[in-house]
Symmetry: C2
Subunit: 317 residues, 2 copies
């Protein structure tokens, strides 16, 4: 959720001093935090929260279409295995005091009988002190230790109309150095490197190295971790998303749904313990790395703590 792959890429702006001058223009109705909370009735807040999440108001049309498509595909395919979102309204939608920064969070846990741990979607919009804006969209689907199949992770990070960082991965659940058979099953037999290679061929696409060495370490060897930059006379960022990123993301999600989320796999008690241990370490580190100083400075300590608390609960760490 929230910047998983991109911590420390921004200078942390001082918390209370974010400029209010450039109000976001694209969100049709942007209630204050209190108003938003009040407008959610207790019975329907889950649907209202999902609707708000699926608006993706600060994103280009191809970007929004892609996100809606991906989330809908997963929610439809896994419908019988997912519980409704039970996040409080003020975690499903939150903003900073000055109203310049907004975000949504959509989490649905899996039934205990399902291999799904939870799915998590989010968009986040922040006005930067430099005058620009930062937009992050995330969609993760985590499995529980009843299976050792990889998690699905996708994230976009955009701080300019002509440049965007894109992360897409099936996240390994085991140390693949000690378990080459795991690589074979989930990454070689599924030809997971082919989508990455398709993107790599575009002039607009360059490898991206996360400033966090931990994040570089925990991704798979087929992870798509790229910077997309519009070129003079080349494709726009929107065209790259529409015609290249979209098909690649759908292909990888299809592999994850068929070969990971919906494939029966036998996992013994010992291995379950190992999987849980590794998942917990990754989740804890992700929260510590991702939701640190930037998040507090963007939304204020109270809001940040409330959202982080809800995420810890969903992550069960």
């Amino acid at each position: 959720m929230l910047p998983v792959i991109f911590p420390h890429t921004l200078h942390s702006p001082p918390a209370p001093c974010l400029p209010c001058s450039s109000k976001p223009q694209l969100l049709p109705s942007r209630p204050s935090f209190r108003a938003a909370s009040a407008s959610f009735s207790m019975e329907s807040h889950s649907n209202q929260g999902r609707t708000k999440f699926m608006e993706f108001p600060y994103f280009s049309a191809p970007h929004k279409r892609l996100m809606v498509d991906l989330v809908s595909t997963v929610e439809t395919r896994l419908a019988s295995q997912l519980l409704p979102c039970t996040l409080p309204p003020d975690v499903q939608y939150y903003q900073n005091e000055s109203g310049t920064n907004h975000a949504t969070l959509h989490i649905r846990s899996g039934l205990t009988s399902s291999p799904i741990d939870f799915i998590l979607g989010s968009w986040l919009h922040c006005q930067l002190p430099t005058g620009g804006a930062l937009n992050i969209t995330s969609f993760f689907s985590y499995l529980n230790p009843s299976t050792n199949a990889p998690h699905f992770l996708l994230e976009f990070f955009q701080s300019s109309p002509t440049s965007l960082v894109f992360f897409l991965d099936l996240l390994p659940r085991k140390d693949v150095v000690l378990h080459p058979d795991y690589l074979q099953t989930f990454y070689e037999d599924t030809q997971l490197d082919a989508p990455r290679q398709k993107l790599e061929k575009l002039a607009e696409v360059k490898p991206y190295f996360s400033p966090s060495l931990y994040i570089r370490s925990f991704v798979s060897p087929t992870a798509v971790l790229v910077r997309i930059e519009a070129q003079d006379g080349g494709l726009s960022v929107e065209e790259v998303i529409e015609n290249h990123v979209g098909p690649v993301a759908k292909e990888v999600l299809g592999i994850w749904l068929d070969q990971c989320a919906c494939a029966k796999r036998e996992v013994g008690e010992n291995e379950r313990g190992e999987l849980k241990k590794r998942d917990d370490v990754i989740k804890r580190n992700a929260i510590e790395l991702d939701l640190g100083s930037n998040f507090r400075s963007w939304f204020g300590a109270d809001t940040a703590d409330r959202v982080i608390g809800a995420i810890r609960e969903a992550y069960r760490v």
Copy 2:
């Protein structure tokens, strides 16, 4: 040793059909395999083998100077901890039947009281069926389980005068996802990403993705794994080696010598067992991945088996 990072990058040429037309020009005296064996006396073959290894006859002057510098630096600094090379002469220098393909191998084990497992150097020259030539230089320094510090790995892979693949890494000995403190100690505190970032800035340097997913997985997050390509009006490959690759390789080797090979580290019995298990898996997979069909087709099955046997003995797997 021999292509660690670059397996499967070449179409395996049929073993007995390598063309003999373009004889190598750079090796001053190139005795046949039998003559080479006979010329090594039993007493002095270790020195003669080292001399032949240090000739690097198929490589540019900056490349040769760099390799001699790196190997000499390690052998001087670790002199009191290294045994002489005890490889048989026909493993220290070997070639194929037709005399088109040549290679040297130089291995020195560490004393049992030392943290050094072994150092391994090699150069390899093969005429390719396409008419070009392939040159590989490798230099590895492995530590034993009395320490958990990373191994040192360096490799060049060149199949054209204007293009070269370069690999440089301190290879992690632990699953860094479960042990972020390991990343902190050996990769963050030592600022190991800085040398990689220096190279990344050059127009002639591009990230290289090994076709082997296993190899992509076992390297560290600061690994330099790049393709160097001469650009019109830019630097030549030799200039990049002389002015950029060389300083970076020396800097990383310096970090390895100071912070890994020569730093005392406490390792308990349990951890030693884990380290040995992981090292053995990596070594076994490296041999299987690297010295497969290409190696047999380049040198013939008998020679390949003899060399692989010697490497297995040095690797103790």
